[in-house]
Assembly symmetry: C2
Amino acid sequence: MYLRNMLSKKTKYGLKALTYIARKGNNEPVQIGEIAKHEQISQKFLESILLTLRKSGFLGSKKGKHGGYYLIKKPSEILMTDVMRVLEGPIALVSCVSLNFYEKCNDCPDEATCSVHKLMIQVRDSTLNVFKNNTLEDISK
Amino acid sequence: MYLRNMLSKKTKYGLKALTYIARKGNNEPVQIGEIAKHEQISQKFLESILLTLRKSGFLGSKKGKHGGYYLIKKPSEILMTDVMRVLEGPIALVSCVSLNFYEKCNDCPDEATCSVHKLMIQVRDSTLNVFKNNTLEDISK
DNA sequence: TATTATTCCTATCGATTTAATAGAGATTGC
DNA sequence: GCAATCTCTATTAAATCGATAGGAATAATA
């Protein structure tokens, strides 16, 4: 069994939900239940994820009958960099190489000579590059 | 405070220890205690990490007085791809894009149309590329 | 041989995080 | 008014992580 799960289910489900909504094409609100059923996601869990995406400005919502969630921007304008930061958190694997959430490691005496730092800077940049070059439209194709 | 810690301390400490040993240059065994002190790592925790690295063929060990750990191969021959797989586990963030530990996601009905799959393939490749292009020598400079 | 320094091995623990669940409240459409 | 839907808070079970403890095995050396 695949043990390490470095991409949280929150992110995975969030991306799937955004994709599902994007693929619908129109601007009609899509209901949580419909997404949960199609993507085989726990509805209650998905509720909290969509709420996060709404509060972060990716989704709009409408309550009551025929309510649901809809995209606020065009899929081509939704960058993975932004989505990932909201769902998964900082992109850097260690705080000392984070662009947006930098923090010195409490143990490491000198970043300039730290081999982990040196390696993780590169991983950050290459990952960031992927996220910068992918919009919701790209991954929904 | 930086919450997500996607790179485990095991990996971080393991890389630091390998670097420490590599920087010594000679082939004399280096003791756990010395590494732990220098790198500010819990000695007991480091013991288990070095044991893992030995069992995986990166380090040799010598017991008893004047014992310790030493590199089996030259730093320039130790690829980060291999080290990371041993310390951190699969490089892919989700099992369905893992080259060495592939497993179908139990929920996802079709990888071909899965947006998460599409994105994570790219992340895997770019990260793999970084690890392939870095040896222990490179990060120890 | 006795002593000391070191690696080796197993077991356990506390804290944190994750994924999921429950239930009630607020709003909207009909 | 009623049903459908999002909103919010709280709780829980399981897993994982980092750390710790204690002793067994081995090697050097006096």
